[in-house]
């Protein structure tokens, strides 16, 4: 590798690192204060949750109730210590504060049939700052890759 290309790529690497740090660390505008408490009822039946996707504001104190319509189902929320089990006629509930923005999948934690591993829903804690940051970071990396591989 010639000295010129080496220097150019060094600059690209440094600039990319700086931009990525900026994208990850830049403060995000604050949003309106969340409601004190939210309660959302989720019903579970073979391989499906209703609602499939739940959107809540960051900081909300969220209570989930899980009701099963057919057999025993569970609900385990990624990135949170939330674990519930329900069976027909016996629902369960869990309360937590949605502290972190982003998309968190919840999954059935009790073997319930063929598609059990794919029984998935999601809680989206708004604003979706992680998605925005990761999108910007992807664009930074794309630009850097273009600059890195571009030949004069």
């Amino acid at each position: 590798m010639s000295r010129i290309i080496y220097r150019r790529r060094l600059w690209i690497a440094v600039l990319t690192a700086a931009l990525l740090i900026g994208v990850i660390g830049i403060p995000w505008p604050a949003t309106a204060a969340p409601p004190d408490a939210l309660t959302i009822a989720i019903t579970a039946r073979a391989f499906a949750y209703a609602p499939e996707s739940i959107r809540v504001p960051r900081g909300a104190r969220l209570t989930l109730t899980l009701e099963s319509l057919d057999t025993v189902h569970g609900l385990s929320l990624d990135g949170h210590a939330v674990e519930m089990t329900a069976e027909p006629g016996r629902s369960s509930r869990a309360t937590f504060v949605a502290e972190h923005e982003g998309k968190f999948k919840f999954r059935c934690s009790v073997s319930c049939g063929a598609l059990h591993p794919f029984m998935i829903g999601e809680v989206v804690v708004e604003p979706e700052v992680p998605f925005a940051r990761v999108t910007l970071a992807t664009l930074v990396i794309s630009g850097s890759a273009l600059a890195w591989f571009w030949k004069r």
């Binding site: 391989f47 499906a48 949750y49 499939e52 996707s53 385990s76 990624d78 990135g79 982003g102 998309k103 999948k105 999954r107 934690s109 073997s111 049939g113 063929a114 598609l115 059990h116 591993p117 794919f118 029984m119 998935i120 829903g121 999601e122 992680p130 998605f131 990761v134 999108t135 970071a137 992807t138 664009l139 990396i141 794309s142 890759a145 273009l146 890195w148 591989f149 571009w150 030949k151």
Partner: protein, 453 residues
């Protein structure tokens, strides 16, 4: 090619690779697991997450294959795959040692010239992919697919020469070969002039030391990993010690621009589309899509099948073709459009591998803990062989997974951008012509990012 390092320069490595015991031992190690996967599929519990056949094939094996073996070893799996082993042993009438002259016992038919490509592998993969929701979750269906593969491999080896099944039919081998181009490992000839003067070509015909290339390759012309099964027969049969195993920069095959074909280009698009489709259907929150994919024969399934096949065969290739047209318009090149379409499609190889790694990492880490109970109770009959039968399901690294997925997508995207620019330079010197392809890759990546993060 200067950045290559010959691993077989070390006599100990060469001795191990040239040993007839190595492939036999590796296959002997995988064969019992494979047999158990079929037996548990046939006779075990129908609950997929309690059945060895589902958990060890579609979680453990898949994780090892797509996250380790393919990215770092290329077709390493093909060297230890038990599926063609019975057929190959029957062909050879030997399990370990070479027979005099490497003679094979089969009708020795030549595979039809028109089918000497991977179109049948593309079709076979799409067929399996179409029924994936069933095959991934139903032990009996999974066992049936594995048995079918063994049966076809056996029949093919009885009728046709060498590993015709692996080369032209195996649905798994097709995509492993495509993505093996990314791997930093290759078997190559050291000095082609030595091969030119070696009239016997024992690497292809076989000798007392071993069999002719089971993959129907002439190693002297080997310039990409796609069809080399890393079986190391050529290391055994070359009398001039002229074949080595090399470490190389990842993706080296993709920047040579050699041997690009429409069937491989389509494979790249099919793989990319399937990674997206599975991420939406299986790992997304939309239950109606999962139910449609699973309920085979219902109107919902037919609608799903239509959209799935259209996306794989028409929509994604069509969008990519439109990008190739835009590239042609920007560059005013005289290169035929079909050539541009095919060559640019190789940018989808790193992109697709990144997408499959990203999809797989979430599926695998979330479900890996099912492996411990089925080790103790593979059939789901209430055994507790190792005391792990009651271990409960625990998703691993669930909070981190979206970011690991994003990282894998970005690695694939960076590789795709590098290949796109190189292709543009090779064809018309104007790198800006690659921008439509780059935009396609970035938008695809952002689509998956939206699903995951």
């Amino acid at each position: 090619m200067s950045a290559r390092f010959e691993l077989t320069r070390d006599p100990r490595v060469r001795h191990i690779l040239a040993s007839r015991w190595l492939p036999w031992l590796l296959i002997a190690a995988t064969l019992p697991f494979f047999a158990l996967a079929i037996l548990t599929g046939l006779f075990g519990t129908p609950a997929g997450n309690r059945n060895f056949g589902i958990v060890f094939v579609w979680v453990v094996w898949w994780a090892v294959l797509i996250l380790l073996l393919v990215p770092f070893g290329g077709r390493l799996w093909c060297a230890i795959c038990p599926i063609p082993a019975p057929g190959e042993w029957l062909q050879r009438r030997a399990i370990l040692g070479p027979r005099p002259g490497g003679r094979l016992h089969s009708l020795g038919l030549k595979w039809p010239r028109r089918l000497r490509n991977i179109w049948l592998q593309n079709a076979a993969f799409l067929l399996v992919a179409l029924f994936a929701a069933l095959i991934l979750t139903t032990p009996l269906a999974s066992a049936f697919v594995l048995l079918l593969m063994v049966g076809v491999a056996l029949a093919t080896s009885a009728l046709f020469e060498r590993r015709t099944f692996c080369r032209y039919l195996c649905p798994v081998g097709g995509f492993i070969g495509l993505y093996a181009q990314v791997a930093p490992l290759e078997v190559r000839v050291k000095d082609r002039s030595v091969c030119a003067t070696h009239t016997v070509k024992t690497c292809y015909t076989g000798s007392e030391a071993g069999y002719g290339c089971p993959w129907l390759l002439y190693p002297a012309t080997l310039d990409k990993n796609t069809y080399c099964g890393l079986c190391t027969e050529c290391l055994k049969t070359c009398p001039h010690d002229n074949i080595g195993l090399y470490l190389r920069p990842p993706g080296a095959d993709l920047v040579t621009g050699k041997g690009h074909r429409l069937d491989e280009a389509y494979k790249g698009m099919i793989m990319l589309t399937c990674a997206l489709a599975y991420s939406v259907v299986l790992m997304g929150p939309w239950a109606a899509l999962k139910e449609a994919a699973f309920a085979i024969g219902t109107p919902g399934w037919f609608a799903y099948a239509f959209v799935f096949l259209a996306a794989n065969l028409v929509i994604v290739p069509g969008l990519f073709f439109a990008c190739a047209v835009m590239s042609e318009q920007i560059s005013h090149t005289t290169v035929p459009l079909r050539r541009l379409f095919v060559d640019y499609a190789y940018a989808l190889v790193p992109l697709g591998l990144g997408a499959w790694a990203a999809f797989s990492v979430s599926f695998v880490f979330i479900n890996l803990s099912y492996a411990w109970p089925v080790l103790s109770d593979p059939f789901g009959w209430g055994w507790n062989l190792f005391g792990t039968a009651q271990w409960t399901w625990t998703p691993y690294a669930d909070g981190l997974l979206p970011y690991v997925q994003w990282l894998m997508l970005c690695l694939g995207l960076v590789g795709a951008i590098g290949v796109s620019l190189k292709t543009a330079r090779d064809h018309h010197g104007r790198q800006v012509a690659a921008m439509p392809i780059v935009a396609f890759c970035v938008l695809f990546t952002l689509g998956l990012v939206w699903l995951y993060v």
